[in-house]
């Protein structure tokens, strides 16, 4: 059982960067040869997404980080660790985390590393950062998480671009984070990009279009077995949340907000129903920001709870689940959290 508790670390603030460009789902009538746009919106909840083919994940994360560091009044030289969670790096090598250290002007005395996870990535990233900080060796760190411009554009209107930054700081005595994690690699091909890695490489065939789930796409674009992902999500996510709550002796009455990975509305509503949680405890950002991979949990906290939680102690349970297959649940409290205005570039 992968339960982990990491104390003495708190979230100081969260910021999110998105492309200015808004794509309305309704403007995309040829969404699939299988169903029409109204059915798609009813099922997924996605009315619009933020999408352009200009900004990379690091562009969005850096813009958000500049804003958050200013809002927090932090000195960049104090930031000693940076974890970058993405599946859309600037280059295949080197790690984007290294590029971002320099670009943000962080000290060279900086621990920087990458996590290649998607929907579960923010929760995993939190555990990486909190592990580094729990003993007090590192006092301030940044967790960047998101996905944006991939090697090839994603034709799926469910996928949206965002780069988030979560600022963490050491605070002796803080209850910190309580985690549950799981992995089922037998579902590795439920969501994947067939070509471009060491297994298949890139060839002329990689660019040939083929029909996948009613859409034409090539082998450098992400494809999904929707039914397998759906079945996995509605069964695994509620179990992980319940396990974490039970293991750490918490009840849903103790929880102010349950933030789910914004997979799609249908999945999240099934999970909410299984947990018997009222609507007001489970905010959604997916109508406006769609599914932003590892960014969905922090962007939901940032955009849906800004102005509501900053001044009071607030208890969260958050669950990320998806590509891998991989999942993680985290329980934590916030107090005096800084939620920066949305950064649009």
């Amino acid at each position: 059982m992968a339960f982990i508790e990491l104390k003495n670390v708190r979230i100081a603030g969260i910021a999110a960067g998105v492309p200015k460009r808004i794509e309305h789902t309704k403007d995309n009538p040829g969404i699939s040869s299988e169903y029409d746009v109204d059915e798609f919106i009813k099922s997924t909840g996605v009315e619009q997404r933020r999408y352009d083919d200009i900004h990379t994940t690091s562009d969005l994360c850096c813009a958000a980080a500049e804003r958050l560091i200013e809002d927090l009044g932090w000195d960049k030289n104090e930031i000693e660790a940076l974890i970058f969670v993405t599946q859309s790096p600037d280059y295949l090598t080197p790690a984007t985390a290294c590029i971002v250290q320099d670009r943000l002007g962080l000290s060279k005395e900086c621990y920087a590393s990458e996590v290649e996870l998607g929907c579960s990535g923010w929760v995993y990233g939190l555990s990486h950062v909190a592990s580094l900080m729990t003993t007090g060796c590192i006092k301030k760190a940044l967790l960047m998480a998101g996905d944006a411009k991939f090697i090839m554009p994603i034709p799926d209107p469910l996928a949206s671009n965002a780069g988030t930054v979560t600022a963490l700081e050491y605070e002796e005595g803080n209850e910190g984070f309580k985690f549950h994690f799981g992995t089922d690699g037998s579902g590795w091909d439920a969501i994947y990009i067939p070509d471009g890695g060491g297994r298949n490489g890139v060839s002329a065939k990689s660019l040939e279009l083929e029909e996948v789930n009613g859409r034409m796409m090539c082998r450098l674009q992400s494809r999904m077995n929707g039914m397998d992902v759906f079945a996995f999500a509605i069964s695994t996510a509620p179990k992980s949340i319940k396990k974490a709550m039970e293991h750490f002796g918490k009840t849903f009455d103790d929880i102010d907000y349950c933030i789910l990975h914004q997979a799609n509305l249908q999945i999240d509503e099934v999970i909410r129903g299984k947990l018997k949680l009222p609507e007001e405890k489970v905010p959604y950002s997916l109508r406006k920001f769609a599914n932003t991979s590892s960014a969905t949990i922090p962007i939901t906290i940032n955009t849906e709870l800004r102005g509501k939680i900053e001044n009071k102690r607030t208890r969260f349970v958050c669950c990320g689940f998806g590509i891998g297959l991989s999942w993680g649940t985290v329980i934590f409290d916030t107090e005096n959290i800084v939620l920066s205005e949305l950064v649009e570039i």
């Binding site: 059915e39 079945a231 509605i234 099934v270």
Partner: protein, 76 residues
């Protein structure tokens, strides 16, 4: 559980489909209104009503409503 109840639950996953038009032998993937979004609703219904988690292949391979019913029964 019985197959009549299963057929009623199955029909409810469509926007506008009379359960009386369905039989155990109905090949559901050939229905005009069948699509991948309906398939997700069927998976959710089976998860909720019968506490069984199906995979995409179960839906594709069962072909008929009775075939799917049998798959669910085996996994219960």
């Amino acid at each position: 559980m019985d197959i009549k109840e299963f057929i009623n639950n199955f029909a409810e996953q469509f926007d506008d489909l009379d359960a009386a038009t369905l039989t155990p032998e109905t090949e559901y993937m050939a229905l005009d209104d069948w699509n991948s979004l309906v398939a997700l609703s069927v998976i959710a219904m089976i998860d909720e009503e019968y506490d069984v988690t199906l995979k995409g292949n179960d839906i594709r391979e069962a072909k008929t409503i009775e075939g799917l019913y049998n798959t669910v029964c085996q996994k219960m």
